[in-house]
Structures are given as structure tokens and as C-alpha cells.
């Protein structure tokens, strides 16, 4: 990903955003709790968090679909509430699990949605981009899951928007369809230069697609950084995994300089993982130790920590709970 793709211009600005919903049990439920962030033009910005973390609500406030309780959001300086109509001309919205008219063909839907905007891209050009040109006279119901999802993304681009919002674009897709969709998102960003704001609860997706990731949990942002930056914030940014032919004393390994933790991978087996801050420093130390102690090691791997580890360390719980 090239650096010049991203500019300094602020595409999306969110300041001190709060959204409360009335809740029968607790009086009010704070879905979004003082959230602030900026997205720059050309960026792919991701919200990573479990279901109910406040990702969708935040997006829908920015898109002008839901009024905020307090705070301020804007797209290219256009306020999401006060200048909603002008703002909508410049954004494309793909909603989570939203369908399209079941009795219109793909071409007719794109033509219809195009007519809602001041400028519109021809349906054929849009369908061609996602390989659905052969299906232009089909109904949405006749598309596969992956095709329907590609269609819903391209339907968000009828007005040639500057910012595209994608809400969990790959949820429910098989791995192959997910990869196809990642290619599409990269194309929209890198070739067409669109700014993308997306939500996901797949850390791999955030790692592959996003320039920056906001980790969100229980309505508030825990950290914002590049995927690599987030991982490097962790004390244990890497793991050294290996197998041995006999049981080792875990405490001996823990005493090695640079080792932050030791995890026996399989209970009763001889596979271990060392949590380390810098693999380059600790790996030689570990290998020297094995020679000195006549420990035969096999299958040594250095594994960088993932966003899953980041999430666990920031929130104390797993992303998939």
C-alpha cells in the first residue's frame, strides 16, 4: 500500500460522539460513549469489535441515518445532521444485511438508485466492475451470497461517492467469496481512490484491508493505530513456537532474557510458545540455550502477534465471545 494514496485531508470527522438508547432494564443504554476519530482521504479505516460494540451505530450516525445524542460528525466538512442532504451526495452506504427490491433486476435497481443522486454512474459500468454484467437482468434473489454482497457494495457506488461505508461486508461469506470481496475493496480504494470506512469482527480482514484500525468495545474506542502499530503496542509482539522431544522446565525458559511468558501449547505434549517483545534479540538467546542444555528443538517458528491478541490485551476478552 503506497503512502501517497493517503492524504492529509480529513474525509470523516467524529468528535465526542455519544448515542444513548432507552433501555427497559437499565433506563438508558449507552451504545456509543464519547467516540472521537478522523479518517483521511484515501484511507481504509476499520472498526474492529465484537457484535454490539457500537460499530454500526457509529457508522449510521455518520451516514445521517441516526441522530446522535451529543457530539458532532461530518464528512468532508458537511455535518451529518445539519447538512445531511449535501453530505449524502458524497457518500456511498452499504448496510449490514440490507436487501434490495426483490422484484427489480440488478440493472433496474442501479438505475433507480442512480436517479436519487445528482450524478450517477451507468449500471453497466458498475456491474462490469464486480463481474455481474451477465446478471443484469436477474433478480437479487437469484444471486449467490457472494454475488449479492458484491452487488450491495457496487450499489453503494452509484453516485461515484468519495467515501464508501461498508458495514460488515463479508459476514456470512465463505472464505473464497470473502477473498474476492477483499480484492474488490482494495480495487475501490487503490484504483478508484475512494476513502473506505468499514466495520468487521474478523481480525484477519482488518489486518489485510485496513490502513488504520479502531478497536472498539462497549461503545468506546480502546486504541487506534495501524494494524502493525497496534501489535507493536503489545509487550509481547511476537511468539517463538517450537517442538521438543522431551518435557522442559517452564521456569528455565521464563528466566531467559527477553522472554515475557511461556505457554505449553498442548497439555502433556512437548510444544511450547515463548512470548517475546523482539524476536530478533530473543531468538539467538533461545537457540544458544538449547545448545548449552542439549535440548533438541524442531519446527521453530516466529509468529507475530495478531489483532486478536491486541483485542484480548485491550479488553480482557476474546473477539469471538
Amino acid at each position: 500500500m503506497s503512502a501517497e494514496r493517503i492524504t492529509d485531508e480529513v474525509a470523516v470527522e467524529v468528535r465526542d460522539l455519544v448515542k444513548e438508547f432507552p433501555s427497559p432494564e437499565r433506563g438508558t443504554l449507552t451504545a456509543v460513549d464519547h467516540v472521537s476519530f478522523e479518517v483521511h482521504r484515501g484511507e481504509v479505516f476499520g472498526f474492529l469489535g465484537p457484535n454490539g460494540a457500537g460499530k454500526t451505530t457509529t457508522l449510521e450516525i455518520v451516514e445521517g441515518l441516526t441522530p446522535p445524542t451529543s457530539g458532532h460528525t461530518s464528512v468532508f466538512g458537511l455535518d451529518s445532521v445539519a447538512e445531511r442532504e449535501a453530505m449524502k451526495e458524497r457518500i456511498g452506504v452499504q448496510l449490514q444485511s440490507s436487501a434490495y427490491f426483490q422484484y427489480l433486476t440488478l440493472e433496474e435497481i442501479l438505475d433507480l438508485f442512480g436517479s436519487f443522486y445528482e450524478r450517477a454512474v451507468a449500471p453497466d459500468a458498475l456491474l462490469d466492475k464486480v463481474g455481474l454484467i451477465d446478471k443484469k437482468r436477474s433478480l437479487v434473489g437469484h444471486l449467490s451470497g457472494g454475488q449479492a454482497q458484491r452487488f450491495s457494495i457496487v450499489a453503494a457506488m452509484v453516485n461515484d461517492p468519495d467515501v464508501v461505508f461498508l458495514d460488515e461486508p463479508t459476514t456470512g461469506l465463505d472464505p473464497q467469496a470473502r477473498r474476492n470481496l477483499w480484492d474488490l475493496v482494495e480495487h475501490i480504494n487503490q484504483v478508484e481512490g475512494k476513502t473506505i470506512v468499514m466495520t468487521t469482527h474478523y481480525m484477519e480482514e482488518a489486518q489485510v484491508l485496513c490502513d488504520r484500525v479502531a478497536v472498539i468495545d462497549r461503545g468506546s474506542i480502546q486504541a487506534i493505530d495501524t494494524p502493525l502499530g497496534l501489535v507493536h503496542q503489545l509487550p509481547a509482539a511476537y511468539r517463538i513456537a517450537f517442538a521438543t522431544s522431551s518435557a522442559l522446565n517452564v521456569n528455565d525458559l521464563k528466566d531467559l532474557p527477553g522472554v515475557l511468558g511461556v505457554t505449553p501449547l498442548v497439555l502433556g505434549g512437548f510444544d511450547y510458545e515463548l512470548e517475546v517483545a523482539r524476536a530478533g534479540d530473543t531468538l539467538p538467546v533461545f537457540l544458544d540455550w538449547t545448545k548449552e542444555n542439549d535440548v533438541e528443538v524442531d519446527d521453530v517458528q516466529v509468529v507475530p502477534a495478531t489483532l486478536e491478541d491486541v483485542f484480548l490485551s485491550l479488553t480482557g476478552r476474546s473477539l469471538r465471545e
Binding site: 445521517g64 441515518l65 451526495e89 452506504v93 440490507s98 434490495y100 427490491f101 433507480l112 436519487f116 443522486y117
Partner: protein, 350 residues
């Protein structure tokens, strides 16, 4: 807006199941009712029992025989005839004993009995008069219909079927369609575009108004060309009135969709609104047959003034000005239903 209207019309046309309910359902009613012959009086089977030699017996026999729809059979055994009455083999037994005429009938056959007993009473009266030596009655009665032309029950019914069909299709169709759009988040998706939501809803209303005109024309065509219904007035006013009143039904459809959690619930609420009106407002029977209190309530339902107005202009051949009161009531309902819809309708689930 043109594209939006075209798309809304296409959606309506392609939703074959909904289209069936809108078009075929009232047409089926028009066909089924057309198959009945309401004008024909039912045949009444009468057993005449008694002493054949008595003059009263003879006079009764002549009297009964003079009525076309009576099929009179002379029987000797009263017991056997009573059994035949119980079994439904005969409708009425007239037993003559001396100067006494006893009429036995099966209580389950209400309409036939009413007619038969009244007729038999007249015969008895006439026999009495003749016995008293009065051959020419002092007062005679002649009954004749005074409506414009010859109005049959089917003529009365047909405009009712038009109004009923449009009402059902609009309330249910609109409620289900909007509820489905909301459930599939299509309404939300439209809110994410710069399109003013009212324009989307207006296009839906427009497409359904056009559908209701086609629907009305189809029902009338079946009634007039297949079953010979005779409508006397200017049919254009029937279309104008039905289309105007349809705004009420579409508003009620929006209101029903507003409170429904899903399309099934929307259909249920829509039926709960439409069905009582369909029967109470006089689609099938004149409202005069209802209890007074119910009549009074029914007067305030929107279908009632519509039915009255279209019957005035199409069945009774009155000018549109004769329906001024009904038009005023419909206008009030258009305004009122708009406010109800505005209050109840939600773009999103609450």
C-alpha cells in the same frame, strides 16, 4: 420521479401473488355472485291433507294452485305428510279439518316459510271473503318497484364488489409491501440516499392508484359483460370516487404497516381493519338491515359513504351532486386517515 414511479409500478406488476389478490379475488366474487339467480323465487312443496269432499278443502286447493311457485300435492295421510316434513321431502303441510286450516312447516327454512305463510294467510282471507259473499274486495293493493329502471340484486352488488376489492387490495397490499421494505432494510437504504422519503412513498401510492383503476375496470367488465349487470349512471364518477377514497385505504395501509413488526403481522392488522368494513358497510346487504346502533357506527366507517356514493351515481343514475354528503364524509376521512398514517407510520422499527 418518473423512474421511481415506473419502478414502483414494475414491482407491483411483478409481485404476482399480491397482484392475484388485488385483481382475481374480487373478480372471483363478481363471478360467483353472478352465477346465483337472485331474482328467481324458490319453489315451495306443499302437501294438502284433509277431507277432499269439504268445500274449504276445495277452495284451499284452488287458492294454493293459483300461486306459481307452489307445487301442491294432495295427500290422504296427515301422519305420513308430517314425516315427509321432518325429512325435508316437503316444505309445508296444509291440513284442512272442517273449517279449520292448520299450517305445518319446518322451522329451519326461514325464508320459504315467511313467504309461504303470508301467501297462505291471503288465501284463507280470500276464502273467508268469498264465504261471506264478498267477491270483489273493497280495497286492493298493487305493488311495483319505484327505482330507476329495473335494479337487480347483482346490479346493487357489483359497485360494492369494486369498492371492496379496492379497499382490500390497498389496505393489505400497502401494509404488507411497506412492512416488507422495512424488514428488508430497504427503507433504511433509501434513507441513506438524498431522496426525500415522501417521494418514495408517493410513488408507491401513485402506482397503487393506477392499479385500483385497472382493478375496478376489470370487476365492472366481468359483471357487465359476463353477467349482464345494468349500471345506469356515469361510470366515470364511480372511478373518480373509488380512486379518491382509495387514498383513505392507502393511508390506513401505511398506518397498519407502522405498527406491525413484520409483513405477516401487517397483513393481520390490515385484515382486521378491512374485514369488518367489508361486511358492515353494506357491500353485500343494505345497512338498513343492521341494528340501529350498529347502523349509526357503520355510518362513520369510510367504506360506507363510498358505497352509498357509487351506488347513487352508478345504480340509481343520480348526478354526482346527489352524493355531496358522502363526498364530504370521504374528504374528511382522507384528511383524518392521513393524520393517522402520519402518526402511526415508522420508517424503522421502534
Amino acid at each position: 420521479m418518473k423512474k421511481l414511479f415506473g419502478a414502483s409500478a414494475k414491482m407491483l406488476y411483478r409481485d404476482k401473488q399480491a397482484l392475484f389478490w388485488a385483481l382475481a379475488f374480487p373478480v372471483i366474487f363478481a363471478v360467483v355472485f353472478g352465477l346465483f339467480d337472485f331474482e328467481q323465487s324458490p319453489e315451495v312443496k306443499i302437501d294438502l291433507v284433509g277431507e277432499t269432499a269439504s268445500p274449504v278443502y276445495g277452495a284451499m286447493g284452488v287458492g294454493l294452485g293459483s300461486i306459481d311457485t307452489f307445487v301442491v300435492t294432495e295427500r290422504a295421510d296427515l301422519g305420513a305428510s308430517t314425516t315427509r316434513l321432518d325429512d325435508g321431502d316437503t316444505d309445508v303441510v296444509v291440513a284442512v279439518q272442517g273449517a279449520n286450516v292448520e299450517v305445518l312447516y319446518n322451522e329451519t327454512n326461514f325464508q320459504t316459510n315467511q313467504f309461504a305463510i303470508t301467501a297462505i294467510e291471503r288465501i284463507v282471507d280470500r276464502v273467508n271473503l268469498e264465504a261471506a259473499g264478498v267477491s270483489e274486495p273493497t280495497v286492493t293493493l298493487e305493488a311495483s318497484g319505484v327505482a330507476a329502471g329495473d335494479v337487480s340484486y347483482y346490479d346493487f352488488l357489483l359497485p360494492g364488489l369494486v369498492a371492496m376489492g379496492v379497499m382490500n387490495a390497498s389496505i393489505t397490499g400497502m401494509a404488507v409491501a411497506i412492512s416488507r421494505f422495512r424488514e428488508q432494510k430497504i427503507l433504511r437504504r433509501i434513507l441513506a440516499t438524498p431522496l426525500a422519503p415522501i417521494r418514495f412513498l408517493s410513488a408507491q401510492v401513485g402506482a397503487r392508484l393506477v392499479l385500483s383503476v385497472i382493478q375496478s375496470a376489470l370487476i365492472l367488465a366481468v359483471g357487465i359483460f359476463l353477467f349482464g349487470a345494468e349500471l345506469h349512471g356515469q361510470l366515470i364518477w364511480l372511478f373518480v370516487l373509488v380512486t379518491f377514497a382509495n387514498l383513505i385505504f392507502l393511508n390506513l395501509g401505511f398506518a397498519a404497516a407502522g405498527r406491525a413488526k413484520n409483513p405477516d403481522a401487517a397483513a393481520g392488522i390490515a385484515n382486521a381493519i378491512a374485514l369488518p368494513m367489508m361486511f358492515l358497510s353494506g357491500t353485500f346487504f343494505p345497512t338498513e338491515t343492521l341494528p340501529v346502533i350498529v347502523q349509526w357506527i357503520v355510518k362513520f366507517l369510510p367504506l360506507t359513504p363510498l358505497l352509498e356514493a357509487i351506488r347513487l351515481v352508478s345504480v340509481e343514475g343520480e348526478p354526482i351532486t346527489a352524493a355531496a354528503t358522502q363526498i364530504a364524509a370521504l374528504t374528511a376521512w382522507v384528511v383524518l386517515s392521513f393524520f393517522i398514517a402520519n402518526r402511526m407510520f415508522r420508517f424503522e422499527e421502534a
